[in-house]
């Protein structure tokens, strides 16, 4: 579904992604693992072309997207959930969802506001509150819900477990599991291996912007050496 092939990305002169490749097969959840600053978020942004890739290719459903602007990539069905949430703090929950709205797309689930409120009951209660009045966990849910309003077939989920309470992490696990059962494909960036183990089929580990491991999650679990070498305890 998503094929990233030897991309290089820069911030100014800082070379952050180095010939990075990864595949996300349709219907699977792939965990992108790595330490702080390894380049996980940059990978997500590079797929979205929020950070422009200097070289290499990014294909989505066979189509080259690395020269498209972010909005066109989103329109093709790639949903992006940023790590720092970036809810529109002056807009209400409902208005945040309106921004994310895109017309139904063939081949992916068509989400309605009510379906999302079923998925995230907390948001339903707070539908007329402004983004800035929400708790961190609620904001995290809102970002996901907002992205789902665009009916994506692939979701780039950047560290959904970061800085939220354990209950919410638990809820995130359920949400991702449900998304998967609805047929969505997910690229999930994580530092928390346990979280990844609960939801992911495969894992890719990156270090200093280069891929150092890829395989199924079962293999990774069976290889504590790799884990110890590249992931924080």
């Amino acid at each position: 579904m998503l094929e990233v092939d030897r991309i290089n990305s820069f911030y100014g002169k800082a070379h952050v992604l180095r010939d990075l490749s990864l595949d996300v097969p349709k219907g699977e959840v792939v965990a992108l693992l790595g330490r702080n600053g390894a380049g996980k978020s940059t990978t997500m942004k590079s797929v979205m072309q929020i950070v422009r890739t200097a070289s290499g290719s990014v294909r989505f459903e066979g189509q080259e997207i690395s020269r498209l602007p972010p909005h066109k990539i989103a329109k093709l069905g790639v949903g992006y959930v940023p790590e720092d949430r970036r809810v529109f703090s002056d807009l209400t929950v409902v208005e945040n969802l309106i921004v994310g709205y895109q017309p139904p797309r063939e081949g992916s689930v068509t989400w309605t506001r009510d379906m999302l409120f079923d998925l995230f009951p907390n948001l339903a209660e707070r539908r007329n509150n402004r983004g800035k009045a929400l708790s961190g966990g609620e904001q995290q849910m809102l970002t996901i819900a907002r992205t789902l309003m665009g009916n994506p077939s692939l979701v780039l989920l950047d560290e959904p477990s970061e800085g939220v309470a354990p209950v919410i992490v638990e809820q995130m696990v359920q949400v991702i599991t449900q998304l998967k059962s609805e047929g969505l494909t997910v690229l999930l960036s994580e530092q928390n291996l346990h979280f990844a183990q609960a939801v992911a089929d495969r894992a890719v580990i990156i270090e200093s912007g280069a891929r150092v491991y890829h395989g199924t999650l079962a293999e990774l679990t069976a290889n504590p050496d790799i884990r110890d070498a590249y992931l924080a305890a």
């Binding site: 929020i50 989103a74 970036r86 529109f88 921004v99 665009g150």
Partner: protein, 618 residues
């Protein structure tokens, strides 16, 4: 009481166009983060277009139709400006976008002159609304009543658009985080264009609506800017109710001012603004600006180094050439180079503020013209000897700068920029209105240098010495510990504070110092010309300096100076053409789009690219 009510009603009616124009500005700023200086020009086009349409479309339908069509036409003009001029420079530093809008101002000024001629046009009366109605015995023009009724409807319609429609939601979302809006599948370019067109249409409507109360003339573009900025600052950037309330306050106050304090109407506006800002620094309904956009990465600044030997040699050679000018140059070239030198000093003083201090002052002419006027006033009214007047001019300008800086530095970013411009307009209007002292429009004349400086050659040397020393002092200060403190405050206020720098004090001193140097240039100017007129204080003069600094490049120290030479040279060529503003405007737009690093910066980059200059790594 009756009179009071009538005054309030007139004020409310006057608030109408002001509100529309301010709303448009606010809306455009919210989404695109551009303070559209050409907004006054759009307002002017609205007035002219409305006027022309009213000549051909008959009756009441024709009249109101003309207003609507004028709005649409200006919306279309805005659309074109956005697509042709702004779209290529959205990624450039935001100041370049401002310079691009200056270019647009110049182009529109000349196009208006070309199409509608230099005479002021008196607006036609609204058919069917010619007379007055008596309210509590006081005559109120019927058209005022019409405006009173229309404005709230327009305000509500706008409010509905912004709060209740998806477009409005997108606009508000983009105001907060446009990159995220893009990542959610919204085409931002389209949104920007739409908002720019809408904001422009509002300015155009404002211009056409005020026709029966005023008319159309070629100065209205600049004249509306100060009140509009004041309204936006008082109301709070991006707030519709704020703009409405502030427009009403300013207009009502203005009406009372005309009745009771006719000499000080303009000053009144500023007094209100200062009071509001003391209590609410971001306006009645405004919020603090969030600095820093997501995902914008600028190139790191080059470290400042002492000039290399080559540079020193080039500068020295240039100075020698200049010093020998009287030997080979004509009389005309002496006068021209004197002008250029003065302008270089003026631009360098702004460059210091902008480049080193990161303080974007849009009203630097206040200190340049201010210095000139201080000297001229001393000579005219107390018969001061030239030498004394010359010494006191920069001091006076510096003090004015300290006072204005004291108020403006409470704010940052665009608010700061708009305030500096508004204050410069205040000084201009003071000089303009206070004819007994300043000569008003007729200016002050017979301000000649002392006997020993009278000869053109001698004055040329005098200017050369003062201007070059001034520029060297500016450079020296920029490299002194004070300059570093200023730069630290620019780059990170918090870190600077943490290292014990009183950022506010440092900035205020820098503002005063730049004002002093601007005043010095003004003093050189007034004695070289023997006279001074209010146009030395105009917005256009401030813009000249800004354009020069940008042409030269903000990041390079030589920028201000090279830019000034370049600008004056080009102006000298262009001014021979009747429509030089048009050419100048197009040139500015071209430079902004083609060479966003300015002349010096682009030259440097070009040289690096072809390998003539070593790329300096870290």
């Amino acid at each position: 009481m009756e009179f009071f009510v009538a005054q309030v009603l007139t004020g409310l009616a006057n608030a109408s166009s002001l509100f529309l124009v301010a709303c448009g500005l606010s809306l455009i700023f919210g989404v695109t983060r551009i303070v559209n200086f050409a907004h006054g020009s759009l307002y002017m086009i609205g007035a002219y277009t409305g006027y022309s349409l009213m000549q051909v479309l008959p009756g009441a339908v024709g009249f109101w139709g003309s207003i609507l069509i004028a709005g649409l036409v200006v919306g279309l003009v805005g659309l074109l400006i956005e697509i042709l001029v702004l779209r290529p420079v959205y990624r450039a530093p935001e100041l370049f976008q401002l310079v691009a809008t200056f270019g647009v101002i110049l182009v529109i000024q000349d196009l208006a002159l070309l199409i509608w001629g230099p005479e002021d046009l008196l607006g036609p009366r609204a058919p069917g609304l010619r007379g007055v109605v008596r309210i509590m015995g006081e005559p109120i023009p019927k058209y005022d009543i019409a405006l009173l009724i229309i404005t709230p409807f327009v305000a509500v319609a706008l409010w509905y658009l912004i709060t209740k429609t998806r477009l409005g939601v997108l606009v508000r979302a983009a105001t907060q985080d446009r990159e995220m809006v893009g990542a959610l599948g919204v085409n931002q370019s389209w949104l920007f264009t739409g908002v720019f067109a809408l904001g422009s249409a509002l300015a155009g409507l404002g211009g056409a609506l005020q026709l029966p109360k005023g008319g159309a003339d070629l100065l209205m573009d600049f004249n509306i800017l100060a009140p509009v900025f004041v309204v936006v600052v008082i109301g709070g950037m991006g707030s519709l109710p704020g703009a409405y309330l502030a427009a009403i306050i300013i207009s009502v106050l203005n009406v009372f001012g005309v009745s009771y304090l006719p000499e000080s109407t303009l000053v009144l506006m500023f007094v209100v603004m200062i009071v509001v800002l003391m209590i609410r620094p971001y306006g009645l309904f405004g919020r603090e600006e969030v600095a820093g956009e997501h995902g914008q990465v600028g190139e790191p600044e080059r470290p400042i180094k002492p000039a290399s030997n080559t540079v020193r040699m080039v500068v020295a050679a240039g100075l020698v050439l200049l010093a020998l000018l009287p030997l080979y140059g004509s009389h005309f070239s002496l006068v021209l180079i004197t002008d250029v030198l003065i302008f270089c000093l003026f631009a360098a003083s702004l460059h210091f503020l902008l480049g080193t201090g990161g303080l974007v002052s849009f009203g630097h002419a206040a200190y340049y013209g201010g210095g000139a006027y201080v000297a001229a006033l001393l000579v005219t009214h107390v018969n001061s000897p030239m030498e004394l007047a010359f010494l006191l001019a920069p001091v006076g300008a510096g003090l004015v700068a300290l006072a204005i800086g004291w108020v403006c530095l409470r704010l940052t970013g665009v608010y700061f920029a708009m305030l500096t411009l508004a204050f410069a307009q205040l000084i201009w209007s003071l000089v303009f209105q206070w004819g007994d002292v300043t000569g008003g429009d007729d200016g002050l004349v017979n301000i000649w240098p002392a006997e020993w400086l009278k000869a053109t050659t001698v004055y040329f040397y005098f200017t050369l010495v003062i201007a070059v020393s001034g520029i060297l002092i500016l450079r020296h200060v920029a490299h002194s510990p004070f300059g570093y403190a200023l730069r630290a405050a620019r780059d990170s206020e918090r870190q600077a504070e943490a290292t014990g720098i009183d950022t506010r004090k440092v900035r205020l001193l820098a503002f005063g110092f730049a004002g002093f140097m601007g005043g010095l240039a003004g003093a050189l100017f007034v004695f070289s010309k023997g006279s001074v007129f209010p146009n030395e204080l105009e917005i256009a003069r401030s813009f000249d300096a800004l354009i020069v600094v940008f042409l030269g490049g903000v990041k390079t120290l030589a920028g201000g100076v090279v830019g000034a030479g370049f600008f004056k040279g080009i102006e000298e060529v262009l001014i021979r053409f009747e429509y030089w503003r048009l050419l100048m405007g197009l040139l500015i737009i071209f430079v902004v789009i083609a060479a966003p690093d300015g002349v010096v910066g682009s030259l440097r980059k070009g040289l690096e690219r072809v390998g003539l200059r070593k790329v300096e790594d870290q």
